[in-house]
Symmetry: none
Subunit: 202 residues, 4 copies
DNA sequence: GATGAATGAGCCTTCATTCAT
DNA sequence: CATGAATGAAGGCTCATTCAT
């Protein structure tokens, strides 16, 4: 039943998707929907939660390093691959979390922001690992700057997910997309960890 | 009058913002709104157009290089400064273009996509300049990869705009945010132009 | 200006014809309309009155017999010719009086009923003349029956007016239509004046 | 529920009758009306159809002659009795079909015209029977003239229906009204079938 | 005097939500 | 338990009507 709701919300938005249509698409009757979830609000929240959890779980699984053997960039790349693979496989869920949840009221937006924060924290953690591996001082980067970098990375990834999912003859694979993003950002990350910064030409 | 509409749409979304509320917020009566713009659709489109144009104009002005003296990275940084300054100064307009327009119907989404494409093209142009300045072969980067990089950059910028606008004690200045983003991405760009790539560790 | 109003009301009905459209069709601005006639109600009433008066005048002129020389049937025929000629020449006015005025509220309907009554009275008068000419007793026909006959004649005439105005290759002339109606009704009238009645076969 | 709609439309016209009022008069809520009939248009059409069908059925039943024993004038009289009885019993339905349907838009007018045509055809058929019974040649009357006579009869009947329904101390019975109409028209019909015509006095 | 600009009121329609079955 | 039937509340849009210019 949530599947139908997710598809409906993704396709038409929270307001434009009607409970009638969702119930019909789910093949059940409207009062049944209200028995499981008290209101449209709750239904939407449930959708967001389910899709968020699935996405975060996929990315987390991708970045995992059970044996402690992988370098940070490899783990980041794995996580990105998982991210792009998941968003490609679940476009409706991705649309709900990434687009719809952010546009309809504070409370939903908070849910979406939490996802972002969670993924950003994953990235932050990996940067910390990279820093340790590179032997940097813990305070080479200000906390705020790390936060900014993480958000930049997340945003770039989100944008590339949409770009990769756009209809095309040969859509790029998750690994290609992830490689593009690593090329885009990793050199800068390494530079920063080494203390080398870009500054505007004089 | 558009101001009120932009604020309403930004705050509540296209569907949830009611014409009554918009008119009241504008200090006029509903029929007057309909005299200027024939329908809610048209009103929303007008909002998108106005805010899009303002944003694109700001960024374009930032990247301009009348005397042909500036290096590409400086121009990009200027553009980013302009972008972050504009989104910080017009958060509602930014929300309309970046969030609302993309979630309610194909036709609005096309308007929003056009903005993205326009900015991505600006960035692409700057990459071309950078490539020329660095004496690279024209085909050092595949067209698709350039497109991906541009979208990654735009996405990172969008994400940082939201991040920078989030309520905080000392919000970062546009220049700080732009510097963070340059640090994030410019090293990778330069590497790519030099033919150096990131590849997953074996 | 009334012309435009009559056409508008005839074409779209009292409610559906908008003051904007009428004013535009008349080539003047709306406030000017309100200066001449205080409200839409008054405008409609004015239309009804003008068209009614024209129609009644035409028919009355037709039935007139200045020299007292014409027999009643001839005068009736003349009146019918005038009637069909007028309705054919002023279809919009006819539509306003005959159709629109009767469908929108009591007060307008009364105006329309007055026209009917006036014409019915004309007919009644002619029947009286015919009776006198035929040497009948004044009370050969009950008053109520005369009224019924007059309304039947008026209704038949109204119906034939619509029938004659319907789009056709060779629309019948007013004289043909009038002849059809005389054939239809005059024999019965004469019979009645002579005291001969139709009765259901046993 | 249609009853309330018919009454509302009859009293105020299609445009002026509001769905709120109709729903309230029906003792139900507005959305319920929309569950049964998709729009005001459809509701009005349904009213027209129902009332038309009832009227036509009543008249057709009246003119029927199962055993083939009745003369044409008797059948016509029976039909007229049925007609006047029905219009007297269902004044609102009669108003909808006869007045309102003809004044609001082509599509409704077509429905009303179809009813008229159907009744006119009934009458035409009876004239044919009368002609056969009287031993007339089939072409004694031109087709157009027959059509005109039928419309005249229908119009006279419609007019008398309104006349008979007008508020009065002793309203005439359907049989009286039908007799008045037969007196009005049948002698002329017979004359025409015999080839005798009214012509304007020289 | 004539008009562009403005509005209060109302109508058709829809939707999230709940009972009675 | 699951559902068809029903509704209160609102939203987009239009129109007759009036001022300030």
């Amino acid at each position: 039943m949530l599947d139908a709701a997710v598809e409906g919300f993704a396709r038409y938005g929270y307001r434009s998707a009607s409970m009638d249509d969702i119930a019909e698409a789910a093949g059940v009757s409207k009062p049944l929907v209200y028995q499981y979830l008290k209101s449209k609000d709750d239904l939407f929240t449930a959708c967001i939660r389910r899709e968020s959890a699935a996405l975060v779980a996929a990315v987390r699984a991708g970045t995992e390093d059970a044996d402690g053997l992988l370098p940070a960039d490899r783990r980041l790349w794995n996580g990105l691959c998982a991210f792009f693979a998941h968003t490609a496989a679940h476009p409706h869920g991705w649309a709900v979390v990434h687009q719809q949840a952010r546009t309809e009221g504070e409370s939903f937006a908070r849910e979406a922001a939490a996802v972002r924060a969670e993924i950003a924290e994953l990235v932050t953690g990996l940067l910390g690992v990279a820093a340790r591996d590179a032997g940097c001082a813990d305070d080479a980067l200000a906390e705020r700057e790390v936060s900014g970098l993480a958000h930049a990375l997340v945003g770039a990834a989100e944008s590339l997910a949409d770009w990769a999912n756009a209809p095309r003859q040969e859509p790029p694979s998750a690994r290609e997309t992830a490689a593009t993003l690593m090329n885009f950002c990793w050199a800068g990350m390494e530079n920063l960890l080494k203390g080398s910064r870009w500054t505007p030409a004089p």
